[in-house]
């Protein structure tokens, strides 16, 4: 059981399952929740500030505000679905345990993100290219977020082979939710020539954007005269835009 913020950070990193186990009583939950949120917010803000530093200026602040939101929103969307996936199991986890595991996972992601920030800063000096920076950021989030996601296993029933399908669905669901949340909250790395805004219009989806960023990073900019822009035919398209797109991811 952690008694200080520092010991909570250490336990969250070394034995996240222990923090989840601790949150059985109301008193312990009331003590843990604000501190886990603080860790997530500070860790995410540090990482976000470094991400925003690729463009510089006010984007440092914007990205620092949005990054903790990126760590937390998928929990609100994905955790009820994950709880539902295991609801028919004999040993279905209590709602509070699933929620606390998600929160501990977010805090763990925040700590790892803050720890990874110097490396990302170094990467920015090596990869000044905008499209390459997006891919580096996506890869970083995949590694960091994956560690946080693994914390959820502490809330799930003991593994049996019948759990393979719901586990796979849960993993894909949280991954997609996080990725799409990141897309909705863009730009984190603004295009060098872009006009900076806090949020972009909701359009297309993350899969489409990553595909195009990968093509652009390899020098394939499409047909001559074709403007790089997210497709308006993505799975979660809300409106037709494209020609006036001047943002980033």
């Amino acid at each position: 059981m952690s008694t200080t913020l520092l010991s909570l950070i250490i336990t969250t990193l070394r034995s996240p399952g222990m923090v989840v186990d601790d949150a059985t009583s109301d008193a312990q939950t009331a003590w843990l929740v604000p501190r886990l949120l603080l860790i997530t917010a500070v860790g995410g803000a540090v990482f976000g500030a470094v991400v925003g530093a690729h463009h510089g200026g006010i984007q440092v602040l914007y990205a620092a505000i949005k990054m903790p939101i990126l760590f937390l929103v998928p929990l609100a969307v994905g955790l009820p679905a994950i709880r539902a996936l295991f609801a028919t199991d004999d040993s279905a986890p209590p709602w509070r345990r699933v929620a606390m595991a998600g929160l501990v996972g977010a805090a763990r992601t925040g700590i790892l993100a803050a720890a990874a920030s110097p490396f990302l800063w170094l990467a920015w000096s090596l990869f000044r290219d905008y499209h390459m920076a997006i891919l580096v950021l996506a890869a970083s989030l995949l590694v960091i977020g994956g560690q946080g996601l693994l914390t959820l296993r502490h809330a799930l029933p003991k593994f049996r082979w019948v759990h393979v399908a719901p586990l796979a669905v849960a993993f894909v669901l949280m991954g997609l939710t996080t990725a799409q949340t990141g897309w909705v909250l863009r730009p984190f790395i603004a295009r060098p020539s872009a006009q900076i805004t806090f949020l972009r219009p909701i359009e297309a989806d993350i899969g489409d954007a990553l595909l195009r960023a990968t093509r652009s990073a390899t020098g394939d900019y499409g047909r001559e005269g074709e403007e790089w822009a997210p497709s308006s035919s993505g799975l979660m398209t809300r409106g037709l835009r494209g020609r006036d797109f001047d943002g980033g991811e």
Binding site: A30, L37, L72, V184, P201
Partner: protein, 182 residues
Amino acid sequence: MTGWTAPALVIAAWLVIGAGVGIQLERKGHPSSTAISALVVWPILMSLINTIPTATGPFSEAIQRAFHSLNLTIADPLAADVPWSGELASLHQSLIDADARLAMVDRLLSESDDSDASKGLHKAREHAATELQAVLAGLADLRIQIGLYALEGGEQSVQAELGALQARARALSEVRTTRWTG
């Protein structure tokens, strides 16, 4: 901004509910940090609305520290095969209850005069505090027993130590029961 109307409404609804839960938590006497957290994670904290936060006693931090250290020791892979009878949670709860009783007695003593009854209560309080401290010291000894077990084996010593601690923790409640039931 294109497409942001519906998300903005959802976010506003989330924050309004969170503010409502936070206000309720504040009224119930929960810390401000918990109430503010409800803005973001109200689904987790909603269950706390119906609970009144228990007062933390004078040994609250010492209890948490002792169990934190013990849990870290147990989590060590080298201590994985230490034989536990799985009673640590009840031992922990016994100490928290005893600590809460001490907190209540401290509050009473601070409000009472210097009568004989107060002196009796003060004496009983000191006895209970000494017993609680002895159990906490025993938890430190238990960690040493685990270390010895990892080196030399001998599961009886670990179980004996744990059993003795549980007996002392039970005695903290039983003395109280005897005192009040006559």
